[in-house]
């Protein structure tokens, strides 16, 4: 009986503990509020681009996430901003204030959802990652056309200041490339394919500028094959399949530049850094004689296909500088020996 009463007491205590600890834990979480005013902001978004091809009618829903990497909460405002390709032709954007869309009202049908709620702002807690949904509603009568918009999450600023100060707002964006079709056939051309005519050594940078004359964005694929003076293919550079917006030009880099941790990238990094615009780089270092580079480019999976060929020469001037004195010395000795023999 004594042990029975003791067991009941223990059971009661255990049940009490099992209720109290979760309650305390919940209470702790409720009271654990970090400072509301973030002195630093560190936010991330994934994916960095949404490539959408749709026909009418459709209701596009795409999951994405935003993340706060600080230990403070950060209030964010969501905005959509139209953009076009920057004149640098490197894939950067220029935000537009006014844009002539086929349907000016379409951006209003792009919404961000947090569960079942359409939101225009949210607050991320410390170290919080938030899964959201991007929705694009395209009605049956939507005209065809391309829409390029940035989805921007900007940190809010505190409206009250009692000192001479500037407040910084940090924003992070993901780009939306929306093609409402049916899209027509891709069209365009190779605007420029060039390299220095004479190079002393590799790696060799190629400028590849491609014009997209389609009314929709394209993602061309291609490569550059390098042939030596004996007609042998001795190198191949795969081009990065980047997006080219409708009626714009873009410079194409090579695929090694998509992985900065690879050995291939380390071999060409110095050339990447020394060029202010994207170039496709052949990593070969020692080069002698004439070379032919042939660019093959497909504007889309269904074509059209373009090719262009250029010739460049390589002459290793550094080696020549080292060899010339030796050649000079040999000639000098040969001449002296020849003269000596004539005298004899």
């Amino acid at each position: 009986m004594k042990y029975f009463v003791f067991s009941i007491k223990i059971l009661t205590i255990a049940i009490a503990i099992s209720f109290v600890f979760p309650m305390l834990n919940t209470k702790y979480q409720v009271l654990d509020t970090s400072s509301a005013q973030a002195q630093s902001v560190d936010i991330g978004i994934y994916p960095p681009v949404f490539q959408i091809q749709a026909t009418t009618p459709s209701d596009v829903k795409i999951p994405f996430s935003v993340e706060n990497f600080t230990n403070s909460s950060v209030p964010l405002t969501i905005a959509l901003q139209p953009f076009s390709a920057d004149q640098t032709e490197d894939g950067n954007i220029t935000y537009l204030q006014a844009v002539d869309y086929p349907d000016p009202n379409l951006p209003e049908r792009i919404q961000v959802w947090d569960g079942d709620n359409s939101i225009g702002a949210l607050t991320l807690g410390p170290q919080q990652k938030k899964d959201l949904t991007l929705e694009v509603q395209i009605p049956d009568n939507e005209p065809k056309g391309d829409y390029y918009l940035s989805l921007i999450f900007s940190s809010d600023t505190n409206s009250s200041n009692n000192t001479n100060s500037s407040q910084a707002s940090a924003g992070i964006a993901s780009n939306i490339l929306l093609s409402i079709g049916p899209v027509g056939k891709a069209s365009g051309d190779i605007e420029d394919f060039s390299t220095p005519f004479l190079v002393a050594k590799g790696p060799v940078p190629f400028t590849v500028r491609v014009r997209n004359t389609s009314d929709h964005y394209v993602t061309p694929t291609g490569n550059i094959e390098i042939t030596n003076m004996f007609g042998q293919i001795i190198g191949k550079v795969n081009l990065l399949p980047v997006n080219i917006l409708a009626n714009t030009i873009r410079r194409l880099p090579d695929s090694a530049q998509s992985n900065p941790n690879s050995n291939d990238y380390q071999n060409i990094k110095a050339v990447v850094d020394s060029n202010s615009f994207p170039v496709a780089i052949w990593p070969e270092k020692f080069l002698v004689g004439p070379y032919t580079a042939k660019l093959t480019l497909a504007m889309s999976d269904s074509g059209p296909l373009f090719t262009k060929q250029i010739v460049f020469f390589a002459f290793p001037l550094e080696y020549l500088a080292a060899i010339l004195p030796i050649i000079g010395l040999i000639i000098f000795i040969a001449v002296r020996v020849s003269r000596s023999r004539k005298r004899l």
């Binding site: 600890f21 994916p47 960095p48 949404f50 091809q53 950067n92 500037s166």
Partner: protein, 243 residues
């Protein structure tokens, strides 16, 4: 006494064995977070006499989505990373304190960008208006840099003399080389801020990279004729990946 010890042991055992709840898919709580491309616990290779099937679940990486009349590629097909495109700024309040005429005030912020999942990026900057005394409407103008060294929103130039007044910024590379070249690697070259909605690039990078850091130095210098008061504005930075 034994009961007390027993209760304490029971409590300790509870604390040790207590596990906070974790939601599937996101797999995170206040203590930790697990990020993965696939939920491998429910992936596998079922086979039978007439079929072979590979499946995974919970895909969050760069991928294809499709539905009625649409298909989507989220993320760049040629970059396997699912690291978020990330931007940070070290301090969001740039406090100039009490500003004395012809005594330039310098303040700094660090901007850091990791574009492991995007080929190229830019950070644009603008301000909502000049530093302004909201009660009087009086403003501190943007800098024009030193006399004979005119700077614009897109072209930095020398600003060293304390007799050139205004508000501007310098960009200096800390890690990487993503500050615009017009700053010439000098801490004495400044630009005025572009007024929103216009904006100009203060960092710009090609290729894929991480932890690219630039230091922005704000300089504020006012003349003796500047009216006293409280001057404030908002500076907007937006980090955007290339498309």
């Amino acid at each position: 006494m034994n009961k007390v010890i027993f209760c304490l042991l029971l409590s300790a055992l509870y604390l040790i064995l207590y596990v906070a709840s974790v939601n599937a898919q996101t797999m995170s709580n206040s203590l930790y977070m697990i990020r993965m491309g696939n939920l491998n616990s429910i992936s596998g290779r079922p086979t039978g006499s007439g079929f072979k099937l590979l499946y995974t679940s919970g895909q969050t990486g760069p991928g294809l989505y499709s539905g009625t009349n649409y298909k989507v590629r989220a993320g760049f097909a040629y970059i396997k990373s699912i690291i978020p495109f990330r931007f940070s700024i070290t301090n969001t309040i740039i406090d100039f304190g009490i500003v004395s005429p012809t005594s330039p005030v310098l303040r700094t912020s660090l901007l850091t960008v990791s574009n492991g999942s995007a080929y190229g990026y830019q950070v644009t900057v603008s301000d909502n208006h000049n530093l302004r005394n909201n009660s009087s409407g009086v403003e501190i103008p943007q800098t024009a840099c030193d006399s004979g060294y005119t700077c614009t929103t897109g072209t930095a130039n020398q600003w060293q003399t304390s007799l050139a007044y205004g508000f501007g910024y310098n960009c200096t590379n800390i890690s990487g080389t993503d500050c615009p070249t017009d700053f010439a690697g000098s801490t004495h070259y400044y630009r005025p801020f572009a007024a929103s909605p216009s904006a100009v690039a203060v960092m710009r990078g090609v290729a894929v990279g991480k932890n690219k850091v630039a230091q922005v130095t704000y300089q504020l210098n006012v003349s003796g004729g500047q009216a006293g008061g409280l001057y404030t504005n908002v500076i907007n930075y937006i980090a955007t990946p290339n498309f």
